[in-house]
């Protein structure tokens, strides 16, 4: 799994140090000013500057002085209930039936031979749920208000003592409640589907004493089989054993005496549904001369996610972690690696590429011995260090205590990784090495994953309701859909605007197409002034679009399904960040929705 750096930030780090708060406030202020100016211009055209200014400020005044303080929770609840009932009348529960049918036939489409069936099942249910719920939010939110306006039902409501804030919030809460009920139901079904789907056991095929003790193999069940070894007790009897890792899981084996015969029982799969608690650090790369470098080497892969260090050289990667001893109560330090090996020659085919791990105090006062390891690719390799191990303190060979000697006063620990095979390379990214601080409940993690979907749904509903306050149903739907698509794929525009995607902006693209000029070739029109003008115009368009995209919620970032699928606990800070952002967008869209509804009401009056 790939962890983005910003996902590792703590809540306050994001809010304060990474300027999340400032950024949010900036958007709010910017949009407020922009909104005010636009409304003022429109009103000026309609009523003249004085009257226009008065009308705009009056709406703001009414929001702040009357509608907001006068908003009644009771009325919001009543309107929400109305929206809820309306949604039920529109047979949204049919969506549950669709979901159940999808689950029933999912087995046909899912690759049962997958190397990690848990990942596949979790990704499937979460993606499926996400699509269904987002579509539900889209259709419910976009058509409700316009339908009421068209059928004049809205007039019945507005003649009652109901405020515009209450209408907007009532719609958002009502539809949100419908979506939440469905999402909870889908979440529960998904949980059982996943747990039941991955659960399997094995029967043994043959077993007996071998070169490495009592060992055997299982029959093929669930498209795979395991080998296992049994441990002999002090009395020579066989009691427990464990299978090897196949398709990312293993089983415990228990021997039981039944009618004088030893029978083996295989436990549930372990390792498929987990919620690891990783502690991430920062990574620094040192070059062949041992000096700090900006990055490692590129071995020729298109993907630049991982950077590479050369074997048998001074190149190394050093991670710095903040270690809290209380997170490792058993006194051991488990670390997990997902490194990549790259060979420039085949070498020893049977043995993997080898490396070494050194734990050291950032002050340089102490370090552990070199711990050799063999890289395991495309799987999580866990290495557990005992609290004490041979090493050196101030250059003297001594036993070192990880938590006492290798962690400095700031609570930091450095882990250095080197490749020791000459001519071979290790590939790594910052998230590829982490300390494993225990485990959380899978069910709770799945809940947090669904919370991410819920936030996406709320955002869609907010946008839908907002657009439906001033657009007709179909147009509001297209507008919401566009926001959704741009929210998911807005990075393309950002890449174009920032020059990371070659070929220029829209004007340049229109010129290039008939000229059949490749994106990587400089635009040559024979007129430098014209070319510069096009570049400037494009830059203007792209930065405007970029700014708009920045204001739209980045839906993709709310999706934490990967965390659940790959067995990583979703950081509470990340959930907090997403909830904050959702709340901000909720406020923003509610305000915009209120203003439009209010304006519309005024126009109608």
């Amino acid at each position: 799994m790939r962890i983005e750096e910003e996902q590792m930030w703590s809540y306050f780090e994001w809010l304060i140090y990474k300027l999340g708060l400032v950024h949010g406030a900036g958007i709010a202020v910017g949009l407020s000013i922009l909104g005010f100016l636009l409304c003022f211009i429109v009103s000026t055209f309609k009523y003249g500057p004085g009257e226009g200014f008065f009308r705009v400020t009056r709406v703001i005044y009414e929001l702040l002085a009357r509608d907001l303080p006068g908003t009644s929770l009771h009325r919001i609840f009543a309107l929400s209930r109305l929206a809820f009932q309306e949604a039920i009348r529109r047979k949204v529960l049919a969506l549950m039936a669709v979901f159940i049918v999808v689950l029933l036939f999912a087995g046909w489409f899912l690759d049962s031979n997958s190397s990690n069936i848990g990942q596949l099942y979790i990704s499937f249910v979460m993606t499926g749920t996400s699509y269904l719920v987002l579509l539900l939010g889209l259709f419910l939110s976009c058509f409700s208000l316009p339908a009421d306006i068209t059928s004049k039902t809205i007039q019945t409501i507005t003649t009652k003592p109901v405020r515009a804030t209450e209408i907007v919030l009532g719609r958002i809460f009502g539809f949100g409640a419908v979506g939440t009920v469905l999402l909870v139901a889908m979440g529960i079904l998904s949980y059982f589907f996943v747990v039941r789907g991955v659960n399997h056991s094995h029967s043994f095929r043959d077993w007996g004493p071998g070169k490495e003790g009592v060992a055997g193999a299982t029959e093929v069940d669930a498209y795979h089989s395991h080998k296992f070894t049994m441990e002999e007790g002090a009395d020579g009897s066989i009691q427990y054993g464990v299978t090897n890792d196949v398709q990312s899981h293993k089983h415990t084996v228990t021997a039981r005496e039944v009618d004088g015969e030893t029978k083996l029982e295989f436990g549930a799969p372990e390792g498929l549904l987990q919620a690891r608690m990783p502690i991430y650090g920062s990574m620094a790369i040192y070059d062949r001369a041992g000096n700090l470098a900006r990055s490692g080497l590129n071995v020729g892969y298109e993907s630049e996610y991982q950077t590479y260090i050369e074997g048998a050289s001074l190149m190394s990667a050093v991670w710095t972690f903040d270690v809290d001893k209380s997170e490792f109560p058993d006194g051991k330090l488990p670390i997990e690696l997902s490194l990549k090996a790259f060979r420039t020659f085949k070498g020893d085919i049977v043995t993997g590429v080898q490396g070494e791990i050194i734990l050291r105090n950032p002050d340089g006062s102490a370090e552990s011995r070199r711990n050799p390891f063999i890289v395991k690719e495309f799987e999580v390799d866990q290495i557990v260090f005992d609290g004490k191990m041979p090493g050196s303190i101030n250059g003297e060979p001594k036993e070192v205590d990880i938590f006492e000697d290798l962690i400095n006063d700031d609570g930091k620990l450095e882990i250095m990784i080197r490749c020791t095979d000459p001519g071979q390379y290790f590939g790594m990214a910052v998230g590829d090495v982490y300390l494993r601080a225990g485990e959380r409940q899978f069910g709770w993690n799945l809940f947090k994953g669904f919370l991410g979907i819920w936030m996406q749904m709320v955002l869609v509903i907010c946008l839908g309701v907002m657009f439906s306050t001033f657009l007709s149903g179909p147009v509001a739907m297209i507008a919401t859909l566009t926001s959704l698509v741009l929210g998911f794929f807005g990075t393309i525009a950002a890449d174009v605007a920032l020059g990371e995607t070659p070929g220029g902006g829209p004007i340049e693209a229109i010129i290039r197409m008939p000229m059949q000029t490749g994106a990587l070739v400089d635009l040559d029109l024979g007129n430098p002034a014209l070319e510069t003008a096009i570049e400037f115009a494009d830059a203007g368009i792209m930065y405007s679009l970029f700014t708009v995209f920045q204001a739209l919620p980045a839906f993709g970032k709310f999706n934490t399904a990967e965390f659940v699928a790959y067995g990583f606990n979703i950081f509470p800070d990340l959930v907090g960040k997403h909830l904050t952002m959702t709340f901000c967008y909720f406020i923003l869209t509610s305000c915009v929705g209120y203003f439009f509804l209010k304006t519309r009401e005024l126009a109608a009056a």
């Binding site: 031979n113 093929v220 996610y305």
Partner: protein
């Protein structure tokens, strides 16, 4: 109800009823039995019958996959677009190394377009050859090789009449598992992968543990499994399916995989097979390899008898080059006789234009020519070829001219036939492989290989005296083999021998090899060969040597006395072979005495062509008696090569009498 409305409704209903009748007769579906055959008489409507006739129904194409069918329906006719998007996603996943997602996406693509054969071929190759190599752990690599194969198996089930997938499976099992850098590991993993064997059986009905699929250790062998897939393709074609490749490329694979199997036995240690000693295991292994070569020889000969429709429009059998030459010779003699003096006169004119040495070489019987004369005679034979049409036209009598022209036409046809056979043989090195199969069964080959292995073992154990002795014995046998089967000198075997000679030199601790070193001639030949001495004509002679000159030693009797060869030595600055060898004389291999007259291919010499493996049973290295005829239980007596064809071929295997030597009657170095 309004009468107009009622009238309209009745009209519509009537029209619908009327239309239902032809629709019923056109579109009525057929009813099938469980095995897919049409139930008695229930062939369905006209459309169903056309579908059945042309095997266009989904059921005719292969197994139906509910997932595939529902996905195709769900895309509402946009499956092409969906497949394209998925293809792009697959590329992205590959680039970013999300392997599981890649695998899942490939399954979706295949489900959308299950009858698009290229998808199965391309993406299975992607998994087995490209993705597998991205893993550092060879067991993971093996797993991805299997995934590619599994993909093909799925494709084969959905497209049961297409031979492409089984053919690719044959290739993957053989080539990927048997040629990759990890071949030793892959082969071993496959042998012990009982689950995979059972999975193949369950999914495809192919029992890879059958006797034709087992190696000498009685476990499934990847090359033989590949061959079983090819056999399945051949069965499918026999039942009416289309060939995945041209006849030549399609049918050569089965026997070729037999040869690869034999090579693999020779190359691997088979350490997992219990044996009394390393020597015993080596002996068992090389005997098993020899038996495998015999099977390969039989199948190669069968392949040679396969009628192949060429792109020239003629039908040829590659194994009948001798017969084609004989037929041409007969037609030529007949034509010469018919044309009488005119033919002689024209022929004489061409012969007069030859150089003296060429004439002299041509006049000598085959068996009396030295190597240089062999080359000269072949070149001369080409130069004196007459255009039969021109000869016929010179006849004065109208009737005679017409008859001669008919005969000339036949001659041209036969000459073309020989050329076509030659072209096709050269494409796949037919002659070389035929020769190799025979050579590997020679007693000398068996002894040479066993002793070379033993020598290496002794060397590893620092037993120098024993190593020295084993090397010498091995080299003596190599020398005998190279003389008997000179084509082996231009093969990988020769490289192995040269490497052994280097090791031997290290034991000797001398800068030069002794003058009586058995492989001196061979080493000289290799030096010259590597200096591009070997032109195709010479290679042709080398490959056909044993058949054209049975009993005559290539190196010690012929090549060394060639003036041209001596000249080459001088040009390349190597030692004059004349100094190393006595004056030319032909030696009887059996007695070692000089021959008075050239040997004719006798019954005895034919006997020598028989496989080296005796009818006696082989002992396994652990001392158990097993059938010599690995892996099956067919007796050796049944497996003798077709002697009649061998003897027919003995005189006239190569098409030298009619085709220009440089046009490639030569098999050339080994093609992989």
């Amino acid at each position: 109800m309004n009468s107009v409305v009622l009238q309209r409704r009745l009209t519509y209903i009537s029209a619908m009823v009327v239309l239902i009748v032809p629709l019923y007769f056109l579109g009525r579906p057929s009813v099938r039995n469980m095995d897919g055959t049409i139930k008695n008489g229930r062939t369905g409507g006209a459309l169903a019958q056309i579908r059945t006739k042309n095997s266009l129904g989904q059921g005719d194409l292969g197994e139906l996959e509910p997932a595939s069918e529902s996905m195709r329906l769900a895309t509402l006719g946009l499956r092409g677009v969906a497949a394209t998007i998925l293809w792009q996603k697959a590329e992205y996943y590959k680039k970013e190394q999300y392997w599981d997602r890649l695998s899942a996406t490939l399954n979706q693509i295949a489900a959308l377009q299950p009858h698009f054969i290229e998808i199965w071929k391309f993406q299975s190759h992607n998994m087995s050859y490209n993705v597998s190599t991205q893993f550092d752990n060879y067991e993971h690599r093996y797993d991805w090789v299997k995934r590619g194969m599994d993909y093909l198996v799925r494709g084969a089930k959905i497209n049961k009449t297409r031979t492409e997938m089984p053919f690719e499976l044959g290739w993957f099992f053989g080539n990927k598992m048997g040629v990759a850098d990890e071949k030793v590991q892959y082969r071993q993993l496959y042998r012990d992968d009982r689950d995979f064997h059972e999975e193949i059986l369950a999914k495809t009905g192919l029992d890879v543990t059958q006797k034709d699929g087992r190696g000498p250790d009685q476990k499934p062998d990847n090359w033989l499994t590949g061959r079983l897939w090819y056999e399945r393709c051949y069965e499918m074609v026999a039942s009416g399916a289309k060939q995945a490749k041209s006849t030549l490329m399609f049918y050569q694979k089965g026997p070729q995989w037999r040869m690869k199997h034999a090579e693999a036995i020779q190359a691997e240690s088979y350490a997992h097979v219990p044996a009394a000693s390393e020597e015993a295991r080596a002996e068992w292994r090389f005997e098993a390899a020899s038996a495998a070569w015999r099977f390969a020889q039989r199948e190669w000969e069968e392949f040679g008898m396969l009628p192949i429709l060429t792109t020239y429009g003629s039908t040829i059998q590659m194994g009948l080059m001798g017969k084609a030459n004989d037929d041409f010779q007969k037609a030529q003699d007949d034509f010469a006789e018919f044309c009488g003096d005119i033919y002689e006169e024209l022929q004489g004119e061409l012969v007069d234009k030859l150089e003296d040495v060429e004439r002299e070489a041509l006049d000598l019987p085959y068996e009396e020519r030295n190597f240089e004369q062999v080359l000269l005679a072949e070149n001369a034979a080409y130069k004196i070829l007459l255009d039969p049409d021109a000869v016929a036209k010179r006849l004065e009598d109208d009737d005679a001219r017409m008859t001669a022209m008919t005969k000339a036409k036949e001659m041209v046809r036969l000459r073309e036939q020989i050329r076509h056979i030659d072209v096709y043989r050269n494409q796949i090195n037919y002659a070389y492989w035929a020769e190799r199969c025979l050579a590997e069964q020679e007693e000398e080959a068996l002894l040479a290989r066993t002793q070379m292995f033993n020598a290496d073992q002794h060397l590893e154990n620092a037993e120098l005296t024993e190593a020295f002795k084993a090397f010498e014995e091995a080299f003596t046998n190599w020398d005998k083999l190279f003389n008997k089967r000179p084509a082996m000198m231009i093969d990988d075997i020769a490289d192995d021998v040269i490497a052994s000679v280097q090791r031997y030199k290290q034991i000797l601790d001398e800068p030069e090899l002794p003058e009586d070193f058995p492989l001196n001639d061979f080493l000289e030949f290799r030096r010259v060969y590597e200096d591009q001495f070997a032109d195709p004509a010479m290679l042709g002679v080398i490959s056909s040597w044993p058949k054209k000159y049975p009993g005559r030693n290539f190196l010690t009797e012929m090549l060394r006395k060639s003036e041209e060869y001596e000249k080459q030595f001088k040009d390349t600055g190597t030692k004059d072979p004349g100094e190393m060898a006595p004056a030319f004389e032909m030696i009887d291999l059996e007695t070692g005495k000089p021959l008075e007259k050239p040997q004719e291919p006798t019954a005895e010499s034919e006997e020598q062509e028989e496989p080296a493996v005796s009818e006696e049973t082989l002992e396994s290295p652990a001392g158990e008696k097993t059938s010599a005829a690995e892996p099956g239980e067919v007796s050796v007596a049944e497996e003798k090569p077709a002697k009649v064809e061998e003897s027919t071929e003995a005189k006239s295997e190569a098409p030298l009498s009619v085709s220009k030597p440089t046009e490639g009657s030569a098999p050339g170095p080994k093609k992989k």
